[in-house]
Symmetry: C2
Subunit: 174 residues, 2 copies
Amino acid sequence: MRVLGIDPGSRVTGFGIIDLAGQAHSYVASGCIKTPPGATLPERVKALLDGIAQVVDTYRPQLAAVEIVFVNVNPQSTLMLGQARGAVLAALVSAGLPIAEYTALQVKQAVVGNGHADKDQVSHMVQRLLRLSGTPQSDAADALAVALAHAQHSGGIAGRLQQHGLSIRRGRLS
Amino acid sequence: MRVLGIDPGSRVTGFGIIDLAGQAHSYVASGCIKTPPGATLPERVKALLDGIAQVVDTYRPQLAAVEIVFVNVNPQSTLMLGQARGAVLAALVSAGLPIAEYTALQVKQAVVGNGHADKDQVSHMVQRLLRLSGTPQSDAADALAVALAHAQHSGGIAGRLQQHGLSIRRGRLS
């Protein structure tokens, strides 16, 4: 199962792709879609649609996991972020991908084990869990974290047992 | 020139189509795209994409005019409305339509002549300007008003003169 994680933003949208096989996961790709500064909203929506379509065409993910965005202190920023996220969801729906949604709290809890972890801790754990040689860019790291959160949540019984330090071998708990 | 006016909403998105020929405009169609209550956000985004694609396929507009939405008192509602509007813009961009954006103030100013007109006044003037036999549904009326606002703004010199009670005949002002 190939998962596309997305961290939507009005200026920069991070993406991260991982492959899941049972409990194992491996890094495939990550990066950012930037919308041109000074562009109109329709132009930015187009940049997001084109960027996501290109990522989907190149890497052929089977599912998308998208971070549920925050309400910002600035209502106008909240509106802009909402519009960017709506465009991202539209691009994924158009590509026919099933979509899972996770809050920042769920993502941090899954990756760091602490829902209130800071950005550096998330980035550090993403690098460790995916055995990356360097630190990924902040928005790309967040997107990879969303994909990893999906990996944990979709682990089913085996995943849940593993969270409690248990596993199934030859039909028995061990 | 056929214009598709849109009033985006998180539950109901109104659409209204008018034909423009010089200073004349005529009603083509209007209605609402409703998103299923209780549906997930990706499901609602899909309903919006499918609804707009169907309207575009059926009526073949050449331009879309979309209302710039308000910041709501409730930040969570602002976020939801933003996401709906982002999906609407994505659907229009995907359809290859040029997009013009108008604030509610501009729309009301154009249709009623008062930026602070209430919904009933807008609905009444839409019915009058488009010579409709009945009152259109509220969201459809708002969408038709957005299309009419574009008609006025795109009228160029002739449109601006007309706003001042002037017109050009045989190359002279009259």
